[in-house]
């Protein structure tokens, strides 16, 4: 190994350190024993994890977030899988534009989507409802489902479907018994991403939450405005652990290749 490649590695490691800095800081801060954020902690304790787990407000918000994320992931997967299959397996006009349209909430500003849905929900008298939250989250999670499934279906070997059809399987049966099982890895990946995008969303939720439907990220932000005890750090640490385990599990089982194209 020459000097240049050592330098290259050092630079790369430094950039990753920068990328992971705020997450590492949160994890260390959560272990503080005191009521203020000393860094590094003077005494180590897990009491703020207890504070989170025994707080009714935070527990309620966690359940709201889990519910909304689960329903969002299911709706996004169903809509996204159907659309991606049609776009990838069948020739049709405006295919390119349709794909751009379905994935456009990735780039178009979430803050505007949030405001638009707030004003829309107000007109329909649905402000602050769980349904409004699920719909808003599905708009921003749908592109992840569409992209994961579109990638899977474009690489899919269509002769397998033809074989099933030759053996007498109807199109619907072929889809559920042959096609879907074969793209299961992408289905799982798309579902996990849609779930995570919904669970940690703040931009859309900030506009759409109401009494009884406050999500965890919004509750965390509200709490931060009047207190800086390490409860937030403890919650953040649990979110970090959950997300890193989830993505790591995806890497180990179905692979993260979809992101590398």
């Amino acid at each position: 190994m020459n000097d240049r490649s050592i330098l290259f590695r050092a630079v790369t490691v430094a950039i990753y350190a920068f990328l992971l800095l705020p997450i590492a800081v949160v994890v260390v801060a959560s272990l503080n024993d005191g009521a203020t954020l000393a860094f590094p902690p003077k005494r180590v304790s897990l009491r703020w994890f207890g504070a989170f787990l025994t707080s009714r407000q935070f527990m309620e918000a966690t359940w709201v977030s889990l519910e909304v994320a689960l329903v969002t992931a299911i709706v996004a997967l169903v809509l996204g899988t159907a659309a991606a299959w049609a776009l990838a397996r069948r020739a049709m006009p405006f295919r390119f534009i349709a794909l751009q349209y379905l994935t456009s909430p990735l780039i178009l500003p979430g803050i505007v989507i949030g405001l638009a849905l707030l004003q829309f929900a107000a007109r329909l008298g649905a402000s602050g409802s769980l349904g409004a939250l699920v719909i808003g989250h599905t708009v921003v999670a749908l592109p992840y489902a569409v992209r994961a499934m579109h990638a899977a279906f474009t690489q899919y070997d269509a002769t397998l479907d033809e074989a099933a059809a030759t053996l007498g399987a109807r199109p619907l049966r072929t889809f559920f018994r042959v096609t879907l099982p074969l793209v299961k890895p992408s289905l799982i990946a798309g579902g996990v991403f849609a779930f995570a995008i919904s669970f940690s969303n703040i931009m859309i939720s900030a506009f759409l939450v109401g009494p009884g439907t406050t999500t965890l990220p919004v509750r965390m932000y509200n709490y931060m405005e009047f207190s800086n005890d390490p409860t937030i750090a403890a919650i953040a640490t649990l979110v970090v652990i959950a997300m890193f385990s989830g993505i790591w599990a995806l890497h180990k089982t179905v692979g993260l290749g979809g992101f590398f194209r």
């Binding site: 049709m92 390119f96 379905l102 803050i111 405001l115």
Partner: protein, 276 residues
């Protein structure tokens, strides 16, 4: 094929009703004048009032600096990712993607703790002897840019790594065997061939930075004026719907133009509309 259309329909209609229609209503709202009727009052206020215009100019400034920093930082990371063995690549992909899923609240909070007067960054700077006493980082444009670069870097790295991965390694070896040094190989081979990926990344990062919300809210406070927090504040605290709508329309139109540019770059990259 009539059936394929039917499968595409639910997603298209869903986005139409819950994305297209609400955005169109925002556009209509933005033209509502104070006394009723339609007018450009809200746009005039946003563009001509120096205070409000500063939100747009500061957003652009912060986004330009953020994008430039991401371009510089993304090359080593993307190159390493593209040329790594697949097992190693999975580890680094996890490190890039997991933070995206963790979300902006957790990372914004982390930066708030890290950038404080006695946070790790200031402690490190003092230990290294760069500064004598803590420098103010929270509620400064520097702090916002640091947070945004960290949050948005993966969006630059991923398309760039994909582009670099498409360059045959033999091409670099050939250039080197002909006597070109590393810097020259980078400038003459890697850089030109990865430009489409870089362009895609630039468009995404700039658009996401312009529309960012949590990071400028946490790290900028009332000291750094950006469009995202302005829309939120006007809509929920000041309850000025039409003005929030006008600001939203300006931001949305900017992003839409960038999206079209992005689609165009993608088409150029793959050589045919729609790709594979």
């Amino acid at each position: 094929m009539i059936r394929a259309w039917l499968l595409l329909l639910p997603a298209v209609v869903f986005l139409g009703i819950f994305f297209g229609v609400p955005i169109a209503l925002v556009a209509v709202t933005s033209f509502i004048a104070k006394g009723g009727g339609l007018a450009l009052d809200q746009y005039r206020r946003f563009m001509l009032d120096g205070f409000y215009r500063s939100f747009l100019t500061e957003s652009i400034l912060v986004s330009v600096v953020t994008t430039a920093a991401c371009v510089v930082l993304s090359f080593p990371v993307a190159y390493q990712l593209a040329r790594a063995r697949s097992g190693v690549r999975g580890v680094f992909l996890t490190l890039l993607i997991a933070p995206l899923m963790v979300g902006d609240v957790v990372r914004g909070y982390g930066w708030l703790v890290a950038l404080g007067d006695f946070g790790v960054v200031n402690q490190a700077l003092m230990w290294l002897g760069v500064v004598e006493k803590p420098v103010r980082l929270i509620f400064t444009p520097t702090g916002v840019v640091l947070g945004l670069v960290e949050v948005l870097l993966p969006f630059m790295v991923l398309p760039l790594a994909a582009a670099i991965g498409g360059i045959p390694a033999e091409l670099e070896e050939a250039a080197r065997s002909l006597g070109a040094r590393h810097a020259r190989v980078f400038r003459k081979v890697v850089l030109p061939l990865s430009l489409p990926g870089l362009a895609a990344g630039v468009v995404i990062v700039f658009a996401l930075s312009m529309g960012s919300f949590a990071i400028p809210l946490f790290l900028g406070g009332v000291k750094v004026n950006m469009v995202g927090p302005l829309i939120f504040q006007q809509a929920t605290l000041t309850v000025d719907g039409p003005f929030a709508a006008a600001v939203s329309c300006v931001l949305f139109a900017t992003s839409l133009l960038l999206l079209i540019a992005y689609a165009w770059v993608g088409t150029a990259l793959r050589g045919e509309p729609g790709g594979r």
